[in-house]
Assembly symmetry: C2
Homo-oligomer: 463 residues x 2
Amino acid sequence: MKKVDIKYLYENKESLSQDVIVVAGWVKSCRGNGNFGFIDLTDGTCFKTLQIVFSKDKLANYDVVEKVNTGSSIMCKGKIVLTPENKQPFEMQADEVIIINATDSEYPLQKKRHNVEFLREIAYLRPRTNLFQAVFRVRSVAAMAIHDYFQSNGYLYVNTPLITTTDCEGSDQMFKITKLNFNNLPLDKDGKVDMGEDLFGKQAYITGSGQLHGEAFALAFNKIYTFGPTFRTENSNTKTHANEFWMIEPEMAFCDLEELMNVEEEMLKHVVKYVLDKCPDELEFLDKFVSNGLLDKLNKLVTSRFTRIDHADVIKLLQQADVEWEFQPEEGGDIAKEHEKYLTEYFNGPVFVKNWPKDIKAYYMKLNPDGKTVAAVDLEVPGAGELMGGSQREEDYQKIIARCDEMGVDKETIDWYLNLRKFGSCVHSGFGMGFERLVMYLTGIENIRDAIPFPRTPNNCEF
Amino acid sequence: MKKVDIKYLYENKESLSQDVIVVAGWVKSCRGNGNFGFIDLTDGTCFKTLQIVFSKDKLANYDVVEKVNTGSSIMCKGKIVLTPENKQPFEMQADEVIIINATDSEYPLQKKRHNVEFLREIAYLRPRTNLFQAVFRVRSVAAMAIHDYFQSNGYLYVNTPLITTTDCEGSDQMFKITKLNFNNLPLDKDGKVDMGEDLFGKQAYITGSGQLHGEAFALAFNKIYTFGPTFRTENSNTKTHANEFWMIEPEMAFCDLEELMNVEEEMLKHVVKYVLDKCPDELEFLDKFVSNGLLDKLNKLVTSRFTRIDHADVIKLLQQADVEWEFQPEEGGDIAKEHEKYLTEYFNGPVFVKNWPKDIKAYYMKLNPDGKTVAAVDLEVPGAGELMGGSQREEDYQKIIARCDEMGVDKETIDWYLNLRKFGSCVHSGFGMGFERLVMYLTGIENIRDAIPFPRTPNNCEF
């Protein structure tokens, strides 16, 4: 007799009605009155559960089954019966319930609501809770939505290297890696640690961005995207910082800033639509218990017009607003969280802020004809702030060299990257999106630690 | 006038015939006779190129265009004309050719065949060659095929952590990571380096496997897969070793060894079919110039029966074979490359070798009732040897503790993993597949350095 997934049961309930089948999963709850009882069973294949009805006249082990604890693994054989009048559209009338592995009072998850702080301490068990069943299902489906968008639009998926000696974000932000023994480091003739003895013959890092390598591939494959982990050494304990997170970094040749914004908008709408379509139960739960209005927010995004506005105009708008700012908006200055929030409310939807002051942006961004701004763009979304950051890249060799010199960028380790400007260079653009930021936006959860299976933050690298 | 991708042109050539359009890309070659000429143009969107026909009577800059070098970026406007009698089914008759960025003699790629060793030295430019256009397109499409298989079969994609303090493969195989300054390390009272001062408050590593974390998720979501980078510190310079590579690690609850093999077989056939379907031009090129018989091999795999045979029977078979082995096959011993090759030839297709001697396998593998073997399985495929390795996992708490003690495994850092055997444990299985190994199998290329965009091997961490 074939074991059937609960997901499959829900999708084929009519045709399976009256069939005797086997299901296997974990007890969410169990109650009985000595003669008959109910098990709420999950098997992890979908958010919905299956009700198992069991009775003393059928089960020899009735008394044991009635006492089975939350979290125990069981296997049940029985008939599927449609119950259109009940909350659940069908149930299983059990002929047999086998307890595979029973939990006892040591099991940390009980049939009650646990707070997220406690659940972080048992990160290896929390995916069994409704909250994390919802969050991590959305995360998985959103990842697929991203691959689906880019692959069906002709983008090449490229795995840029994690171990690197060149980096986009500056080496002080990067973890060093080594095979050397810290307590027995080789020294050079000046008494400094001799990294030449390490596996790569020099100091290597784990990367903070795949952009530079992505650009090399865009100038060969036209449209590419990365989707992989990145790392930062930031010692900050906030709700939005983690030392390890996943990024999506698309890069497009023959693409300017306006076309870049088109891609960002189209991609985000595709992802939101895809998740709305595939995760209705999960989003309903999150809307109800985590973030009221989540479904409205997501449904609205799909049809909203994304505003496009220059950074200089944003500053004027903020200065003219009748708001007591904590951080005063200033010409040439950055935009704070409170400003981001105001903007998305003012425009009642997502906002692209473009053409940023060059002094607060990176050397590789395209210098605009005004000589003061660069063709950079940040996307601000309602409820989550900055979701993507991108720019047209400086494609002119002399100009990027000048910008490197102006900003004190070490040209030596990125000579190959700079050379791309000599060998068939063209207008090209790209952006980065933090995947956890997207998951937070899609689920309404407020702490990045709850958007990552096993989060890594300062002094926290458990499991 | 909208810029059109060459891929789109091939897919819509009839409807675009006689339209005037714009294309942008890179010159693969150019030849002219003073009155008219031909440019072979790629834009990276597909393996095929577009022929641009240009003539002196139409182009004011004819003389410059005629001399344009390989690798230069250009933009062309002109009419699409069907040419069914030619090698290419259509061409563009150019009204305008704009040279965006011309390469000169400094450009390392010329219109000739370069050897792969030279191309590795210019890894940032090699994706522009036919060979790497084919290899990296297959890599991208294969990645999508893997996501497609698992997502459409109800698996959850889980991003297991890269930074870790616990690991499946043993910490001597892992890179240490640190934020500390090597030349100014904090010391504890015993004069040893005090890792408590580091960002995570202890020594952290980058991982060699996501399996342990994957199991925790399989016991919540039933069927999961990982797809991410892994790292090994091995100091070996072979054609099949790299220090950074991508792995796919599926894990299934309520799944035994036989069902595990079903998944491996079905998944591989799906991936091969998907790539055959989406990359006909790339595979044809690889079959012709890299690995004769590649297409036959792949087409055959899709319909082949995968043999399933016990390790003990394999040893007998090898001992009875009329072959002079370099490594003598021995009861309880490992299987060498020459044996793998013999097996796939003997059975004329892929071979699952199962039930391995416990002493040469890992502590987490399910001990068989014989007390001597474990429910492990390796998949050997024609032309590439071992492609996947998996096992049923030991789900019994007492038994896995005993195996840890027997094999000297440090139980402390994996206590949470061991606890999974107390909290709703069940029969479960999983496998790992090296993604680069798969890419090599699909493309026929023989060196792992050519299957990775920017390979990392001992003393080689360029770009």
